[in-house]
């Protein structure tokens, strides 16, 4: 590859543009530099979120000994807000989407590079506002990440500031979606027809539409909260003619589709990785592509399943339950096609594949337990318990989180031009996988036995399972640490990565590692 690299200009790390130092990053409009910055940011917030999560777990095995009741409520709320709004919603699109979308479709950058830079600044501004809310008068939000009214209107914590931060983050998300959809429509290389697009691009396309159409609903909901707190406007206050259930409708109208913002691009990553390591073309390309669009469109109409015990009418509950079951089908189709891709393959069991296949297992548990709580009668029991906590951690962490780890190990050589040692990556994966299941599977049982979520304290009969779960959280943390240290070491001491270490067929593997600033010397023609 050495002789090949000489044909190219410098890598994008050398191409600084008009500025030096930190500004060469902050002021850059290069999609790859923006992607790397986003990656660093989301992993930082993920790490802080993990630490807060560990603290929650620790407090639960000795209620009152480690955290006070009030601190506990703040810690689980901030854990949720960081993980959802600063890590997993921006997540795959801003980091890996930014870096790879233009390359995979044979473009030099996204359609609006400056708008892309603006999203990064908005993200930083939103993050700064959220951070400010933690340390200024009033103290961190204690409402949970859902900001349910009327509690969020009355609570004395710094909710207005935190909500404003999330509002700004929403704009970052909308503009990223807009940019990606336009890029995919306008900047595909000659011959890159819709059905030649890599599946990761298909999922970013579907996700982009959800970001554009759903996020404004969140924005207006958050504005209503701010108006309620600052000016006493009673949108959600019954004594002023408002309705608390309206808040739930508005909030979940965004926040359910947001689940697909988190999970669709994660599925895209899996659809890239499995064929490469099975040495096969993806089985059922069109089915996998269409199922992404199916999930994105039907996903708008299932928000009510978050409200089966809210006091909403019984008819609405029945309809939402029915549609919820239908949205499971396209996810199933993806899983069947991934497994079928392995059939008659020549499977190379490298680290990225470990993460990708454990995604399938964990996400299946997350998805199937979604059917259990999507059922009307069982939901009456399981709603608001640890069963829900377990379910969404299997979907969010076992799904989207494991996909991000898959992507990190799959694209690391391309992004940083370095190879990492495989063995520590696999050891880290194994520890993480064991810890993950101890931590979260115990929560299914806790929830089934009636343990409510967001409880600082609990009756003694739940102690043993809480203890197992907390021990799991320590094992999980060790696994994450091994994975992270391995990659960080490789960043400095790794061997030079070839341009195509895995034998990938998509365009990013045809250019140098790390890519040159312009991506392609000449725009490739796809045959």
């Amino acid at each position: 590859m050495e002789n090949n690299a000489a044909d190219y200009e410098n890598s994008f790390y050398q191409e600084k543009g008009r500025y030096n130092g930190v500004l060469s990053w902050l002021m850059s409009t290069d999609h790859k530099r923006i992607g790397i910055q986003y990656l660093a940011a989301i992993l930082t917030f993920f790490s802080i979120g993990v630490m807060l999560g560990l603290l929650v777990r620790l407090s639960l095995i000795a209620p009152g000994k480690i955290l006070s009741q009030n601190t506990y409520n703040q810690v689980f709320s901030v854990h949720g807000i960081l993980m959802i709004f600063l890590f997993i919603i921006p997540g795959v699109p801003v980091a890996f989407g930014n870096f790879f979308l233009p390359i995979m479709i044979g473009a030099r950058d996204v359609a609006f590079p400056r708008l892309n830079r603006l999203t990064w600044w908005l993200y930083l501004a939103g993050a700064a506002l959220v951070a400010l809310s933690l340390f200024t008068s009033g103290g961190p939000p204690d409402t949970g990440w859902t900001f349910y009214a009327p509690y969020s209107i009355r609570a004395q914590a710094n909710i207005t500031l935190a909500v404003t931060g999330v509002f700004v983050l929403g704009f970052s998300s909308i503009l990223t979606g807009l940019n990606f959809v336009t890029t995919i429509h306008r900047l595909r290389a000659p011959g890159m027809t819709w059905f030649k697009l890599p599946l990761f691009v298909w999922t970013l396309y579907a996700t982009g539409w959800v970001q554009m159409l759903a996020t404004p609903v969140l924005a207006i909901t958050l504005v209503f909260i701010i108006l309620g707190r600052v000016f006493g406007v009673g949108f959600f206050d019954p004594s002023r003619g408002g309705d608390p259930i309206l808040y739930e409708h508005l909030f979940w109208t965004y926040s359910h589709p947001a689940v697909y913002i988190m999970v669709l691009p994660a599925m895209g990553i899996i659809s890239e990785v499995i064929p490469v390591f099975a040495r096969k073309k993806i089985f059922g390309y069109k089915a996998v592509a269409y199922s992404a669009l199916g999930i994105a469109s039907v996903g708008y109409f299932v928000w009510g399943h978050h409200m089966f015990t809210s006091g909403m009418s019984d008819t609405a509950r029945i309809i939402f339950s029915f549609i919820t079951f239908l949205v499971a089908v396209p996810s199933g189709i993806k899983i069947f096609n991934w497994v079928a891709t392995l059939y008659k393959g020549s499977i190379m069991p490298n680290a990225p594949l470990y993460f990708a296949l454990s995604f399938i297992f964990l996400f299946s548990i997350g998805g199937l337990t979604g059917l259990i709580i999507g059922s009307l009668a069982p939901n009456l029991h399981l709603h608001g318990t640890y069963f829900i906590v377990a379910h969404f951690h299997y979907v969010m962490f076992g799904g989207a989180g494991f996909a991000i780890l898959t992507a990190l190990h799959y694209w690391f050589p391309k992004m940083f031009g370095k190879m990492y040692p495989e063995k520590p990556a696999k050891v880290g994966w194994f520890i993480l996988f064991i810890g993950f299941n101890l931590l979260y599977f115990s929560m299914f049982i806790l929830g089934y036995r009636g343990m409510p979520r967001r409880y600082f304290d609990y009756p003694p009969e739940y102690f043993n399972l809480h203890l197992i779960s907390t021990i799991g959280s320590w094992i999980l943390a060790i696994g994450l640490l091994v994975i992270l240290v391995n990659l960080l070491r490789a960043l400095f001491r790794g061997t030079q990565a070839p341009s195509d270490p895995w034998g990938g067929k998509t365009l990013e593997w045809k250019i140098a590692s790390p890519p040159p600033a312009e991506n392609f010397h000449e725009i490739p023609e796809i045959k």
């Binding site: 509690y151 608390p244 259930i245 809210s310 392995l342 393959g345 499977i347 059917l371 059922s375």
Partner: protein, 300 residues
């Protein structure tokens, strides 16, 4: 059909078990297939990838079969839902009033309690509401819950199958003491229930005041044994000097009858130092107020 401690519990458990079984079968099928392929087509055993073609019939099969399957699962979640949600006409109504952070159960004859007592074999309908933020009444053993929404009346119902004592939790996050908003459901024979239901509170000194504190949920935040909770304890409070904040200014006053009455009717006027200003205004009559103050006096 599973039997449970209540009519509803058995029905929900049955539909839970059906849906869970279907999910376990699907999970095992996917995982085992994946592991078999992983072993069989490992590069060592299968160095050259084989040819597979797009297979439209297969795609259709694994779209249609799961669709039928999930519609069946939906059906088993829904089949008893009408029954679970619609109480019979002869159900005994109990009003449930929730607030940060206590429950009041009010019966038809005006009797109030902070625990829920019901007779075995009699359908009971709970009519739920909230005085402040969202709460949710959850009886894990009965497999039922429903939110308590301010400004709205929601409901759930059940018939107890056997006598016993069960937890009642709040499962909608409602602030500081959310995890201590716990009460009990006590089920008893019809005779025992009717004895309790007809009984008048004994005329012991202050007993009426204690009953009032209990039924209005005051004891969710205030104790009578000297330990401070969310609010100050009642023990030894009467005629003690307390530091309060009045409109932001600190001053020391004596907790006399007049102060105690003011603290109930307008809790925000003088807030005891070291405690948050979060107590809701309680609707109490002049007589009730007198009983409460009399009772606090006995705790000197």
């Amino acid at each position: 059909m599973v039997l449970g401690p209540s009519n509803i519990a058995g029905k929900i458990e049955t539909s839970f078990l059906i849906v869970v079984s279907a999910c376990v079968v699907l999970l095992v099928a996917v995982t085992v297939t994946m592991l078999v392929f992983l072993y069989r087509y490992n590069r060592k055993r299968h160095p050259v990838p084989g040819e597979t073609r797009e297979n439209i019939p297969l795609e259709i099969i694994w779209t249609v079969i799961p669709t039928i399957l999930v519609i069946f699962m939906f059906y088993f979640g829904w089949v008893d839902f009408d029954y679970i949600r619609n109480p019979p006409k002869d159900a005994m109504n109990v009003d449930v009033i929730s607030r940060q952070w206590s429950w009041t159960f009010r019966y038809k004859n005006g009797k109030q309690s902070d625990t829920l007592r019901v007779p075995v074999g009699q359908p009971v309908k709970l009519t739920l509401t909230s005085e402040d933020v969202l709460h949710c009444l959850f009886i894990p053993a009965y497999r039922v819950k429903e939110d308590c929404v301010p400004g709205l009346k929601t409901h759930l119902w059940f018939t107890a199958n056997e006598a016993g004592t069960y937890n009642i939790f709040c499962t909608e996050y409602c602030g500081l003491e959310h995890s201590h908003m716990i009460s009990k459901l006590i089920t008893m024979s019809a005779a025992e229930f009717s004895a309790w239901y007809q009984s008048k509170p004994e005329a012991k000194a202050g007993q009426k005041g204690l009953d009032l504190l209990q039924s209005k949920g005051c004891l969710g935040c205030h104790t009578t044994d000297g330990t401070p909770k969310v609010g100050p304890t009642f023990k030894g409070l009467y005629e003690r000097k307390v530091t309060v904040s009045t409109q932001g200014k600190e001053r020391t006053i004596v907790a006399d009858e007049e102060y105690l009455k003011r603290a109930v009717l307008d809790p925000g006027s003088d807030v005891v130092k070291g405690f948050p200003n979060i107590m809701p205004k309680m609707p109490v009559s002049e007589d009730e107020l007198k009983e409460i103050v009399n009772y606090i006096e006995t705790l000197k």
